[in-house]
């Protein structure tokens, strides 16, 4: 159970960052993951009033505020990235959950099963933090989380095609495996997530695609080069088979 003594709702990002600099503060975005954490702290810093609840197009780039809800992403990002990010968001639990959960919460928690992270990795999204620091999402996922607050996610929307694929046991379950592919000219980005670890790029497969290999061969390479583990949702072998099948399907869809 998430327990704290006081909750403060700052009205600006610098104000929030200042509060977070105090020891024993925990930032609350949607608050859905935190609820299950055995976290006890002095102060909860509520991020809901920072004005970061936006999805907007800025020239060639799309900017998504850290506290944009999954529902907002589902509805307002439908025309960006061939609808792949919207689709990934729409497949997360029910509308009541998606109205609360935020894209920033999804990214910052680095959950392995996250549909959104898998798409953002394929899109090579850039994260912009309160400190002014900017970081590619792959670099962020590989590093320490730190205490910096996420401001927004910035993605260039110049893809020929983007596809998100997943396998889930029920429509209210997390993915057994998810895959995103983003195609730009002859280059392609392939991301495999819910392995059950967080999404990674399949770089060898991406190179094979650039070298002109067909979708089936690229998918085979992607499945081979990616690592998996077993959990209650699936075995290593099954995840590998899924990766191959879903990457091929995603390449085909993104190439249409």
């Amino acid at each position: 159970m998430f327990r704290f003594d006081e909750i403060i709702t700052p009205k600006s990002l610098p104000e929030a960052a200042k509060l977070m600099a105090n020891a024993d503060s925990v930032a609350v975005a949607g608050g859905l993951f935190l609820r299950f954490a055995k976290t006890k702290c002095r102060r909860a810093v509520d991020l809901s009033a920072l004005g970061l609840d936006f999805v907007k197009k800025n020239g060639a780039t799309v900017e998504i505020g850290a506290t944009a809800s999954l529902r907002k992403v589902e509805l307002e990002a439908a025309n960006f990235f061939a609808g792949a990010l919207s689709k990934a968001a729409s497949m997360i639990l029910g509308v009541q959950f998606r109205n609360l959960a935020t894209i920033g919460g999804a990214v910052m928690s680095k959950s392995g099963y996250s549909n959104l992270i898998t798409v953002l990795v394929a899109l090579d999204a850039k994260l912009v933090f309160a400190s002014g620091k900017e970081m590619g999402i792959t670099e962020f996922l590989a590093g320490e989380r730190g205490n910096d607050l996420l401001e927004k996610i910035v993605v260039k929307d110049d893809f020929d095609g983007v596809s998100f694929q997943l396998l889930q046991h029920t429509t209210l379950d997390i993915a057994v495996l998810n895959v995103a592919v983003a195609k730009k000219g002859k280059s392609i980005a392939i991301s495999v997530g819910a392995r059950p670890q967080v999404a990674v790029r399949a770089t060898a497969a991406e190179k094979a695609f650039a070298d002109g290999k067909d979708a089936a061969s690229v998918a085979e390479i992607a499945a081979e080069q990616t690592s998996y583990s077993k959990d209650i949702r699936g075995s290593v072998e099954y995840r590998k088979a899924l990766a191959q099948g879903l990457v091929e399907r995603a390449i085909t869809e993104a190439s249409k």
Partner: protein, 151 residues
């Protein structure tokens, strides 16, 4: 802390702990139409509307409702009466534990998307509303009867 909300249209003040969730504040203050079921944000039986949007009250820090309007099934008794009757006529209210939340969600769906909806659109909006008794199809029949009456 002092929490001021509009509950079903009427101003209410509650004195709460900062880390309480909206579901507990409501139930502890007699609003027991809102139900607790799964404990893991996975069933939607605790759905309430905050400023008109359906949310999981089990996961919504009560402090965040400060100054906002909160709607439970108690606040849509007249508006949703035709839905209640359609559900009962269909035999879709079985154990009934999930039905107050379903009523609130269907009401929100109509507010957000209107009444002219395909089956897939309806299912997508209310997919989070888990039910273990009805087999879901009886609820769908009732929802379609209800929406038909609104058109």
């Amino acid at each position: 802390m002092k929490l001021d909300i509009r509950l079903n249209g009427a101003p209410k003040t509650y004195y709460i702990k900062d880390d309480e969730y909206l579901l507990d504040v409501l139930r502890n203050n007699g609003i027991t139409s809102v139900k607790r079921s799964c404990d893991t944000s996975s069933c939607a039986m605790c759905t309430v509307l905050v400023d008109g949007k359906p949310v999981l009250s089990c996961s919504f820090l009560a402090a965040r409702a400060q100054g906002k309007s909160v709607t439970t099934v108690d606040g849509i008794q007249k508006e949703a009466d035709a839905f209640f009757k359609a559900m009962n006529q269909e035999g879709a209210i079985q154990c009934g534990y999930c039905d107050t939340a379903l009523a609130v969600t269907v009401y929100a769906m109509v507010q957000e998307l209107g009444a002219d909806l395909t089956d897939d659109e309806i299912r997508h909006y209310i997919n989070g509303n888990v039910c273990r008794c009805s087999g879901y199809v009886s609820q769908m029949r009732a929802i379609k009867t209800y929406l038909g009456g609104l058109k």
